[in-house]
């Protein structure tokens, strides 16, 4: 039973601490990469990677439902939405440098090493019961009982966003003096 105002103990299990540090480092590196690179497709890929890292972080410190929502819905849908945006406008750009350049090899080696370390840590960890998905009763049950108004508001927000983005895309655009405006984006264009 939790005491009001009591601070829970930090994570001290060594593999879990290593996993947490690794995921946090991966999250920050991919976020920084996403903000710095100029190729839009790479930026979207880094963004999806950072959201997947965030999902892994939720796996360690939050209920499983949050991990599932973050990984399945948010990461996948947001990356798909952004890639769909590119396909509707500029098309998927080719990388400015060859895939076999030295930068690619170095980056791939570092990424592979990090991924291998992450897989090793996840596989070697004997996940302590009570640390993983440790936030008491199931979050879905709490959502549908305690926070039912918030859930309803969330549904309204998501429906409004879907409706609004659909209306924005369906609205006719006026011809622009700068040359665009009247053409609907139905395929890749340069």
């Amino acid at each position: 039973m939790l005491l009001i105002g009591a601070l829970l103990q930090p994570i001290t299990s060594a593999p879990l601490v290593l996993f947490t540090y690794l995921v946090l480092a991966l999250l920050l590196v991919t976020a920084l990469t996403s903000a710095l690179v100029r190729n839009t497709l790479w930026a979207i890929g880094s963004f999806a990677s950072s959201m997947a890292a965030l999902a892994l972080l939720y796996l360690a410190i939050a209920p499983f439902l949050l991990f599932a929502v973050q990984l399945v819905i948010y990461s996948t849908v947001s990356a798909g939405l952004l890639i769909g945006l590119l396909r509707q406008t500029t098309g998927l750009e080719r990388p400015p440098i060859s895939p076999i350049s030295r930068q690619w090899i170095t980056g791939a080696a570092v990424a592979a090493a990090l991924a291998a370390l992450l897989v090793f840590v996840v596989a070697a960890t004997s996940w302590p019961v009570g640390l993983l998905g440790n936030a008491g009763p199931a979050l879905g049950e709490v959502l549908t009982r305690t926070y039912v108004v918030g859930l309803a508001v969330l549904v309204v927000i998501l429906a409004s966003a879907a409706l609004g983005s659909g209306l924005l895309l369906a609205a006719p655009t006026l011809p622009s003096p700068r040359g665009g405006g009247s053409v609907r984006g139905s395929g890749p264009r340069r």
Partner: protein
């Protein structure tokens, strides 16, 4: 070695800074949109960390619930932002928000 509240708050602040940098310093609408997503995620991490380690642990489901709401609100913002970026591209044939680009 341990991982406690401070670590997650520092990472949350750093992620928010990265997002703010992307919004302020970059001129591509897509990069700015991604930056706002990072700022949302930073807030969600702070809520989850307070729910797991901080005094918010007294109401242990509050932090993850707020993080869930933040994530789905960010998804809604991304949908609207992507539609606006498409409109921007139709008008200007570029995602850059100024005429000079980056």
């Amino acid at each position: 070695m341990s991982a406690g509240l401070n670590l997650f708050l520092v990472v949350s602040a750093a992620l928010f800074a990265v997002g703010a940098f992307a919004v302020v310093a970059r001129r591509s609408a897509i990069t700015m949109l991604i930056g706002t997503q990072f700022m949302f995620a930073a807030g969600a991490i702070a809520f989850v960390a307070f729910g797991r380690f901080g005094r918010g642990a007294a109401a242990v489901d509050a932090g993850p619930t707020v993080a869930l709401v933040v994530s789905l609100t960010a998804a809604a913002q991304l949908a609207i932002g992507a539609a606006m970026a498409v409109l921007l591209y139709r008008d200007n044939r570029t995602f850059f928000l100024d005429s000079d680009g980056e």
